[in-house]
């Protein structure tokens, strides 16, 4: 059984105080159905990727909640896997098609974060970590800072190297109308931004964001559809203290190795990738663990432009602006990555189009690497 992405849509990402979750869901889902040229009465199930609606909004039961709002009287599910909720929702939707249970389903990724105080959002996000990490007063910038410190020691990675990731992704975001930030930044600006969790600074961190994205998945191929050729999930320990290695996210390695095998491909076959750059160090880890660059070499390669639109000779990384530049409404991110790849593979990505992109990879991470989801798409 083959599965195809038939249609996609993404809302504007950002600080959307005037938008409600209901309104964002309608924009994304009806946009994706229109893009797929599929009537909502033909949708057989709804998968919702979301992390924080319970802790921040007091609303659980999101499957039925959004099914009602969208006028879909169909089986509906909330899928939660921290910041990988969107990718996990796609994986579950793909599985439901592969099983023969459904032929057409919708995946909605959505998060509303900026209605709440930053310290409350930081507390809620720590739900993705271990109990020990919560009692230590750790934050997600702090956990990735601990990983960054080890990477700096092992491979000589510098704060300027990490800043180069933010510079690239902010540049890409200036080309994306739906991105949260349309401001280019320099290494110097990143270095001078206020410290959040040393050595990570404000401009090393993805923002707190609102937004939604939706994709329509189908077992039928159409002229504009893109095939999902691998959908893989791997897990690791919740906390950093239990990890065997601190210089890699082994869940990313495991998921991508299996995905390449399923696709009959290798890292060098990927033309465009959306990877989980929740922090600048996270893109360095991801591009090494996915096999785009050798261990310890990603930082200098990214700094040279080896992953930048118009400069990269091989894979372009995060043409949407990534989590850093496009924004990171956590449950929406994994779905937005798929929507971006589909636009790229169809050749519809406008100013940020990656030339001759045929194969795309999406990499979505939950927590500090406890969940990793890898999808490979081909047109």
């Amino acid at each position: 059984m083959k599965t195809f992405v038939a249609g996609v849509a993404t809302t504007k990402f950002g600080e959307l105080w005037s938008a409600s979750p209901r309104g964002l869901a309608r924009l994304a889902v009806f946009g994706a159905l229109k893009d797929a040229d599929i009537d909502s009465k033909d949708v057989q199930a709804l998968f919702v990727g979301n992390m924080l609606s319970g802790m921040l909004g007091g609303q659980e039961h999101l499957g039925a909640f959004f099914a009602e709002e969208l006028g879909l009287s169909v089986p509906a599910f909330k899928i939660e896997g921290a910041c990988a909720s969107g990718g996990l929702a796609i994986h579950n939707a793909v599985n439901s098609l592969m099983s023969g249970q459904y032929e057409t389903v919708v995946v909605l990724g959505i998060e509303k974060m900026t209605d709440h105080k930053p310290e409350d959002v930081a507390t809620a996000l720590m739900g993705a970590g271990s109990e020990e990490e919560r009692l230590a007063g750790a934050t997600f910038p702090g956990l990735y800072a601990i990983l960054a410190r080890v990477h700096m020691r092992e491979f000589g990675t510098t704060e300027e190297d990490m800043a180069a990731v933010a510079v690239k992704n902010h540049y890409h975001a200036t080309l994306n109308p739906n991105a949260q930030f349309h401001t280019a930044v320099t290494v110097d600006q990143v270095m001078r931004s206020s410290k959040v969790a040393d050595p990570l600074k404000l401009l090393d961190c993805s923002p707190i964001s609102d937004g939604a994205a939706a994709v329509v998945l189908s077992t039928k191929r159409t002229k504009r559809s893109v095939e999902v050729i691998a959908s893989v999930v791997a897990t690791d320990t919740l906390g950093l203290a239990q990890r065997k290695s601190l210089t890699e996210l082994s869940a990313t390695q495991k998921a991508s190795e299996k995905a390449y095998t399923l696709a009959g491909m290798d890292a060098k076959d990927i033309d465009v990738a959306e990877v989980h750059d929740c922090f600048t160090i996270a893109e360095i880890l991801a591009t090494e663990d996915l096999g785009f660059f050798p261990k310890g070499k990603a930082a200098s390669a990214i700094q040279r432009g080896s992953a930048t639109i118009g400069k990269a000779k091989r894979v372009v990384v995060n043409p949407s602006g990534g989590l850093k530049g496009c924004g990171h409404p956590v449950g929406a991110t994994g779905v937005k990555q798929i929507a971006e790849l589909v636009e790229q593979l169809r050749g519809n990505a406008g100013a940020r189009q990656v030339k001759k992109a045929r194969v795309g990879l999406a990499h979505n991470v939950g927590g500090s690497g406890a969940t990793a989801v890898v999808h490979i798409l081909e047109i």
Binding site: G137, T139, P141, G142, L147, V150, A197, D198, A241, L246
Partner: protein, 100 residues
């Protein structure tokens, strides 16, 4: 949300980790904390390898900037983790302090 039952259940875990020594294998300085830790920031969160190989993540107390390097020797101590909520049960837990 603090739970007196959960705090009580965690007491034996605290006892098991007391009086251990180890060294810092990575660290950060949290300046933008979660809500329950607002009054303590900035504070270091460190990854410690205890003697015997077990690793823990904990807050570093009684510190100065010279302690924030690889290999600083630390020992585990009991400290109040955060402010009690209105139920009034004080959440104690493990933190680490430099061994002079």
């Amino acid at each position: 949300m603090q739970s007196p039952v959960k705090i009580w259940r965690n007491q034996k875990n605290i006892a098991q980790l007391l009086g251990k020594t180890g060294m810092i294998i990575s660290w950060t300085l949290v300046r933008v904390p979660p809500g329950d830790f607002m009054d303590q920031a900035p504070y270091p969160v460190v990854l410690v390898e205890l003697e015997g190989g077990k690793r823990i993540e904990a807050q570093l107390v009684d510190w100065n900037s010279a302690h924030l390097v690889f290999g600083t020797k630390v020992k585990t101590v009991v400290r109040r983790v955060m402010h009690p909520d209105p139920d009034g049960v004080i959440p104690y837990g493990i933190k680490v302090k430099p061994v002079s």
